[in-house]
C-alpha cells in the first residue's frame, strides 16, 4: 500500500511541472507586453519597468521560468490590476465562499444522485428508469447559467421565498471569523445569520449541483446494473439473504466504487461551473471575481485562479485514486 501511495504521489510531480510550464507560456502568449498584461492598461511606465525587472522579463526565458516557478511555489501571483491587492490575498478572502457553495452543491448531488441511480437500475426498463435517464440528460444539457436564472426567476422574483443574490443580507449584523458564513453564524451563536447564509446558498447550490447530480445518477445506475447481474449477488439471493442486506453489503459496496472516482472528477466541473453560477447570483466568491477579472483583462488574477484550481483538481483526484486503493485492494496491483 505504501508503495502504491508513493508511486501515485510521485506521478503528481511531472503533471504539476508541466502545468506550470503551460501556464508560464500562456502568460507569455497573452497579447502585448507581459509586464503590462499583468499590471493592466492604466499602469504607469515606471511600474511597468519595475515589474519587468522584478519578474525578470528581460532575462533569458529559462531564467524567467525559474523565477515564475519560485513565486508560484510561494503562492505569489502578483497584484490584481483591478483591485491593486495581492491576488493571493483576494483569493484567501473569496475562497471560503466558493468552497461553501461547491460543498453544498456536491452534497445535494450525492444525496439525490445515488438513490435516483440505484432505483432506476433496480427498475430497469420501467417508466421510472426512462424518467430518470431523461431527467439526468436534461440536467447535463441545461446550461448552469440558464438554470440559475430560471430558479432565481421562479423562487426569488415570482414567489419571493429566497433571496436573489449575495451571501448574506446586508442589514444583518454578522461576524465572520472564518469566512464560511454558515459556520460563522453557528460559532458566534448568531443562528439568524447562519440561517440567512443557508437561504442564500440554496438556489446557487441547486443550480451548480445539477450537472454532477445528473452524472452521479447515471454512473450509479450503470454501475448497479453491472453489479446486480453478478454471480455473487445471485448467490446471496439464493442463500436467502434479506434484500436490504444484499443491497448494502453486496450491491452498493461494489457499485459505488466508480462513483467515488466520478466525484473527484466532478470537482473540475464544479470549479468551472462556479464561475457561471456565482456570476448569475452575484455570489461573492472566486468565480464571480474571476468573471470580473476576465472583463477587465486582469491576467494576474486569471493566472492565480487557473493555477490554484488546476492544483486542487489534480491533488484531489490523486487523493481519490489513493482512497480507491484503500477501498478496493485490486487497484493497488495495477
Amino acid at each position: 500500500m505504501a508503495r502504491f501511495l508513493v508511486r501515485r504521489l510521485l506521478q503528481l510531480i511531472p503533471i504539476l511541472l508541466g502545468l506550470s510550464i503551460l501556464l508560464f507560456l500562456w502568460i507569455r502568449a497573452l497579447p502585448g507586453d507581459p509586464a503590462r498584461s499583468l499590471l493592466g492598461e492604466r499602469a504607469t511606465a515606471e511600474t511597468v519597468a519595475r515589474v519587468r525587472q522584478l519578474y525578470g522579463f528581460d532575462e533569458p526565458i529559462a531564467v524567467q521560468y525559474w523565477e515564475f516557478l519560485k513565486r508560484a511555489v510561494q503562492l505569489d501571483f502578483g497584484n490584481s490590476s483591478r483591485t491593486n491587492k495581492p491576488v493571493t490575498e483576494e483569493m484567501a478572502r473569496l475562497f471560503p465562499a466558493t468552497i461553501e457553495l461547491t460543498t453544498v452543491a456536491l452534497a445535494i448531488a450525492l444525496v439525490l444522485g445515488i438513490p435516483i441511480g440505484y432505483f432506476a437500475a433496480r427498475r430497469y426498463g420501467t417508466f421510472l428508469d426512462s424518467f430518470s435517464i431523461t431527467g439526468s440528460l436534461l440536467g447535463v444539457t441545461i446550461p448552469v447559467f440558464f438554470l440559475g436564472y430560471i430558479l432565481k426567476f421562479i423562487f426569488a422574483v415570482q414567489l419571493g421565498w429566497l433571496p436573489t443574490s449575495g451571501r448574506q443580507d446586508r442589514r444583518m449584523a454578522a461576524e465572520h471569523p472564518t469566512g464560511f458564513y454558515v459556520l460563522d453564524g453557528v460559532i458566534t451563536g448568531n443562528f439568524g445569520a447562519a440561517w440567512d447564509a443557508i437561504t442564500h446558498l440554496i438556489l446557487p447550490a441547486i443550480a451548480l449541483g445539477t450537472i454532477p447530480l445528473a452524472i452521479i445518477a447515471r454512473i450509479t445506475r450503470a454501475s448497479v446494473l453491472d453489479v446486480i447481474n453478478e454471480d455473487y449477488v445471485r448467490t446471496a439471493e439464493s442463500k436467502g439473504l434479506e434484500r436490504s442486506t444484499i443491497t448494502r453489503r453486496h450491491v452498493l459496496r461494489n457499485a459505488l466504487l466508480p462513483v467515488v472516482t466520478i466525484v473527484g472528477l466532478q470537482l473540475g466541473l464544479l470549479l468551472g461551473g462556479a464561475i457561471l453560477t456565482e456570476t448569475v447570483f452575484a455570489f461573492p466568491g472566486v468565480g464571480s471575481f474571476l468573471f470580473e477579472s476576465i472583463r477587465f483583462r486582469d491576467y494576474a488574477t486569471m493566472q492565480g485562479f487557473i493555477l490554484v484550481a488546476a492544483f486542487v483538481y489534480v491533488v484531489v483526484n490523486t487523493l481519490v485514486d489513493v482512497s480507491y486503493g484503500f477501498i478496493d485492494p485490486r487497484v493497488r496491483v495495477r
Binding site: P31, L137, V140, Y149
Partner: protein
C-alpha cells in the same frame, strides 16, 4: 431429418431482418424503435435545418432595430413579432433563428478541429507506444488537469474576442478527450485476433493501424463526437455569456443574448428564457441521440 432439411428449417426460423448481421445494422434497428433516440434525432434535425435556412426563415434582419423599446417597457410576443422585441428593439425571433447558425457553426468547427487533433495524437500514441505514447499521454494528462471551461477561458483570453477564438478555445478542450479515447481503443484492439492474423501474414504496420485498428476503434469516437457537439454548444454559450465571444453586436449569439438580458428579470424575463431554452434543446438533441447511440452500439446492452 437430413442435413439439408435442417438447413431449410434454420432458414425458415431465422428472420434476417430481426437478428441483423453486423453491429451497425443491429444498432440501426434498435435506434429506429427507440423513442428517446428519435426525439433526439428530430431535435438535431430541426436545429440543423433552422441553422442552414436561417436567412429564409427569419422574418427580419437580426441586427436591425424594428420597434421602439424603453428600459421599463419591452413588447412581448405579438402577431407581428412572434417572440417580441429584444432589449434594443430588434426582432427576438429572428435573432434566435440566426443564433442557431452561430451555435452550429461553433459546435461543428470546434468539434472537427478538436477531434482531428485529438485523433492524430491518439493514433500516434496508440500506434507507436513507448516514449511517444508516454510523452503524448502526459501532455494529455496536463491538459485534462485544467477544468474545461477554465482552459477555454485561458485560450480565448490569448486569442481575443472573435468567433474563431471561441472555436479554437473549445477545440483545445476537446483534444485531450479524443486523444485518450482513441488511444485506449487502439490499445484494446492491438492484441485482437484479427491483428495477430494480419501480422502473421506479413501486413505492414502502417496498413494494420490505418486499415484495421483505427476503423475498428471508431464507434466510441462517433458517440463521443455527438455528445461533444452538445458540450461545445453549451461551452460556446458559456464563453459568450462571460463576455469572451464575438465582439460584433450585430451577430446574435444565444449565450450573449442571455447575458445581455439577465438584468431585465422583472421587465422581460422571456428575453433570457428563449435563448436559454434554445441552447438547452439543441444540446439535448445531440445528447439524447448520442447516449442512445452509445447503448445501441454497445454489445453489452444487446437483447
Amino acid at each position: 431429418m437430413s442435413l439439408s432439411q435442417a438447413e431449410v428449417a434454420v432458414e425458415q426460423t431465422v428472420d434476417h431482418e430481426e437478428i441483423g448481421g453486423s453491429l451497425l445494422k443491429e444498432a440501426w434497428r434498435r435506434l429506429r424503435r427507440d423513442p428517446i433516440a428519435i426525439t433526439g434525432a428530430i431535435l438535431v434535425f430541426a436545429f440543423v435545418l433552422v441553422a442552414i435556412f436561417a436567412p429564409w426563415l427569419a422574418p427580419y434582419d437580426p441586427g436591425i432595430v424594428v420597434g421602439r423599446v424603453t428600459p421599463t417597457e419591452i413588447p412581448g410576443p405579438s402577431g407581428e413579432h412572434w417572440l417580441g422585441l429584444d432589449n434594443l428593439g430588434r426582432d427576438e425571433y429572428s435573432r434566435l433563428i440566426h443564433g442557431a447558425r452561430q451555435s452550429l457553426l461553433v459546435g461543428v468547427v470546434s468539434l472537427v478541429i478538436g477531434m482531428t487533433a485529438g485523433l492524430l495524437l491518439g493514433i500516434l500514441a496508440g500506434a507507436f507506444g513507448g516514449w511517444v505514447d508516454n510523452v503524448i499521454m502526459r501532455i494529455v494528462d496536463i491538459m485534462l488537469s485544467v477544468p474545461g471551461i477554465l482552459l477555454a477561458i485561458a485560450v480565448a483570453a490569448v486569442l481575443g474576442q472573435t468567433l474563431t477564438s471561441v472555436m479554437i478555445a473549445i477545440a483545445v478542450v476537446n483534444v485531450p478527450i479524443f486523444a485518450r479515447l482513441l488511444r485506449g481503443q487502439m490499445l484494446a484492439q492491438r492484441n485482437a485476433d484479427y491483428v495477430s492474423a494480419a501480422q502473421s501474414v506479413g501486413v505492414r504496420r502502417r496498413v494494420i493501424v490505418l486499415r484495421h485498428i483505427v476503423p475498428n476503434s471508431l464507434s466510441p469516437v462517433i458517440v463521443q463526437g455527438t455528445l461533444t457537439l452538445a458540450t461545445a454548444i453549451i461551452d460556446a454559450a458559456g464563453l459568450s455569456f462571460l463576455g469572451l465571444g464575438s465582439s460584433d453586436p450585430a451577430v446574435p449569439e444565444w449565450g450573449r443574448m442571455l447575458a445581455d438580458t439577465q438584468r431585465l428579470l422583472t421587465v422581460a424575463p422571456q428575453l433570457a428564457i428563449f435563448p436559454g431554452l434554445a441552447i438547452m434543446f439543441a444540446a439535448l438533441g445531440f445528447t439524447l441521440f448520442g447516449e442512445r447511440l452509445r447503448e445501441a452500439l454497445d454489445p453489452k446492452y444487446r437483447r
